[in-house]
C-alpha cells in the first residue's frame, strides 16, 4: 500500500504550489477589481471566473493547445528556455492554479469590497504609504474571507483531474496525483488500491479542513 503515499505527496505538492501562486495572483487581482474602476471591469471579472465554470477537460484542452510543443506559448518556452511543460509536475501546477484561481480571487474581491474605504483613507492622511496601509489596514480586515477562499482553492487544486490529465499526463511519481491514481486503479480493476487511495484522500482533506479551522482565531474585536 506504499503506492498511496507517492500520489499523496505529489497531490500535496501540486496543490500547495497552486495555492501559493493563487495567494499572490488571487489577492492582487481581487484587490485591483475591488478598488479600481475602469471600463470593462465586470467583463474582466467574468472572463477571470471562466475557469471555474468551464469543464476541466475543455480547459485542459486549451492548455494543451497553448502549452504544447507546437502551441504559441509552448513553442516560445522550448525555443528560448528549452522547457517543455507537458507531462511535468509543473504543468499539473499550472492546471491546478488556473482552475482554482477564481475561488481565491472572487473571495478576495468580496473581502476587500467589504473593507470600508474610509479606513484606508484614514491611514493615508496619517501619512502611511500605499503598500504599508495595504498590509497594516486592508489585509488584516479582509484576511479571513481570503483564507476561506484559499482553502476552497486548495481543495479544488488537490482534486483537479480533467485538465491535469490532459497536460500533465499520468506518470507515477511525477504527475500521477491522487485523483488520477484512483481513476486508474478503478479502470484496472484494482479495487483494493482504489479504496485505500480514496480513504487516504478523504482523511487528508478532513485533516486540512480541521487544521484550517484551528488556525482561524476567535472573533477579531470590532469585526462581525
Amino acid at each position: 500500500m506504499t503506492q498511496a503515499w507517492i500520489p499523496l505527496a505529489l497531490t500535496l505538492k501540486v496543490a500547495g504550489w497552486a495555492t501559493l501562486l493563487n495567494l499572490f495572483l488571487g489577492v492582487t487581482t481581487g484587490y485591483v477589481l475591488a478598488r479600481k474602476r475602469f471600463p470593462g471591469r465586470d467583463l474582466l471579472d467574468a472572463v477571470l471566473t471562466l475557469p471555474m465554470v468551464m469543464p476541466p477537460t475543455v480547459l485542459g484542452y486549451y492548455l494543451l493547445v497553448l502549452l504544447g510543443r507546437n502551441g504559441p506559448i509552448g513553442e516560445w518556452l522550448v525555443s528560448n528556455f528549452g522547457i517543455n511543460l507537458i507531462f511535468t509536475w509543473q504543468a499539473a501546477v499550472v492546471a491546478a492554479t488556473i482552475v482554482a484561481f477564481p475561488l481565491t480571487f472572487k473571495a478576495a474581491r468580496a473581502s476587500f469590497e467589504v473593507v470600508e474605504p474610509q479606513y484606508e483613507q484614514a491611514a493615508r492622511v496619517l501619512r502611511v504609504g500605499e503598500l504599508a496601509l495595504f498590509f497594516r489596514v486592508t489585509l488584516p480586515l479582509a484576511w479571513r474571507g481570503i483564507l476561506a477562499g484559499l482553502l476552497l482553492s486548495f481543495a479544488r487544486a488537490a482534486g483537479e483531474f480533467g485538465a491535469t490529465l490532459m497536460v500533465a499526463g499520468s506518470m507515477p511519481g511525477k504527475t500521477q496525483t491522487l485523483s488520477i491514481a484512483v481513476y486508474e486503479a478503478v479502470q484496472a480493476g484494482q479495487d483494493d488500491l482504489a479504496n485505500f487511495l480514496v480513504l487516504v484522500t478523504s482523511v487528508t482533506c478532513i485533516a486540512v479542513l480541521l487544521a484550517a479551522g484551528r488556525l482561524m482565531p476567535g472573533r477579531v474585536p470590532g469585526q462581525s
Binding site: R69, N70, E184, Q187, A188
Partner: protein, 247 residues
C-alpha cells in the same frame, strides 16, 4: 413562465423511449468502424437503437463488472475478455473473434528521427514514448509483453508517457508531445495526415479482437444478433476499410 417550465421539463425528460436500446461497449480503436457499422445494423433491424460506448477495454470491463447496463462487449485483447469470462460477465458460448490488428510504432509526421527497430527507441533521440497503461489498456499490454520478450522494457519504461486509451496515445504523437508511440495499425491510418508509421512491431501472438454478448443483458436476442452481424462478411468489408484484418 409556464411555457418555459414545460420546455425545461421536456428537456429533462427527453430521451429515446420508443425503440429497444442496445448498449455496445467497444474498445477505443473500434470507434470509427463501429460508428459506421451501427447504422447499418439499425437499417436492417428497425426495432433496435444502438448506443455506442468507447473506452479502453480495461475501463469497459470495470463498468460491466460494476453493473453497467451493457449488452455487448468488444475488447481489443483476449486478456480482458478472459477476465470478463472468469467473472461470469459474458456468454462464453457466443464469444468469438471478429477482427485482427497490428501493433505499430508511429512518429509525428514532421519528425526527422524515425526508429527502424525497437532498439532504436532506447537511444537518446527518443525521450518520450506514448504507451497505453498496461494495467487497463490492451495496446499497452501488447507493447509491454513484446518489449519484455526482447529484454527492452527496462530501458524504455522510464521514457513511457502513459495514456488512458490508445486514442490518447495517438493524439500525443499527432500533437508532437511525444517522440514516438505504440498504437494499432488501424489508428495510425486514421491520422495519416499527422503521424507516420515507422515500422510494424512483431507480436508473439496475433492481435485478435473478441466480441461477446454480456451475460446480464436485458436484450439477449438483439445482443446475439449484433454479435453475429459484426462477424458477417458485410461487416468484415466495412472493418477492412479501416485496416482491420480477418480474425
Amino acid at each position: 413562465m409556464t411555457r418555459f417550465s414545460v420546455f425545461a421539463l421536456g428537456l429533462l425528460c427527453s430521451g429515446q423511449a420508443l425503440a429497444a436500446g442496445l448498449t455496445v461497449s467497444a474498445a477505443s480503436s473500434l470507434t470509427n468502424a463501429f460508428r459506421e457499422l451501427a447504422p447499418l445494423y439499425e437499417a436492417q433491424h428497425s426495432q433496435t437503437k444502438i448506443q455506442l460506448n468507447f473506452a479502453a477495454s480495461g475501463a469497459l470491463l470495470q463498468q460491466i463488472a460494476k453493473g453497467a447496463p451493457v449488452d455487448v462487449f468488444a475488447s481489443a485483447d483476449q486478456v480482458t475478455m478472459i477476465q470478463a469470462q472468469e467473472q461470469g460477465l459474458i456468454k462464453a458460448d457466443q464469444r468469438r473473434n471478429f477482427v485482427s490488428n497490428s501493433l505499430v510504432v508511429i512518429v509525428p509526421l514532421q519528425s526527422r528521427a524515425a526508429p527502424a527497430s525497437l532498439d532504436d527507441l532506447t537511444t537518446p533521440a527518443f525521450q518520450r514514448v506514448a504507451i497505453g497503461l498496461p494495467a487497463s489498456v490492451p495496446v499497452g499490454r501488447y507493447t509491454k509483453s513484446t518489449l519484455e520478450k526482447v529484454g527492452l522494457w527496462a530501458a524504455i519504461e522510464p521514457k513511457m508517457i502513459g495514456s488512458q486509451n490508445v486514442r490518447q496515445a495517438l493524439d500525443y504523437v499527432a500533437r508532437g508531445e511525444v517522440d514516438a508511440g505504440f498504437v494499432y495499425g488501424t489508428d495510425a491510418a486514421m491520422m495519416a495526415d499527422k503521424v507516420r508509421v515507422s515500422f510494424t512491431v512483431p507480436t508473439e501472438a496475433p492481435i485478435l479482437y473478441p466480441i461477446a454478448p454480456v451475460a446480464g443483458s436485458s436484450n439477449a436476442e438483439a445482443a446475439q444478433s449484433f454479435v453475429e452481424f459484426v462477424s458477417s462478411d458485410e461487416a468484415a468489408a466495412v472493418l477492412a476499410k479501416y485496416g482491420f484484418g480477418k480474425p
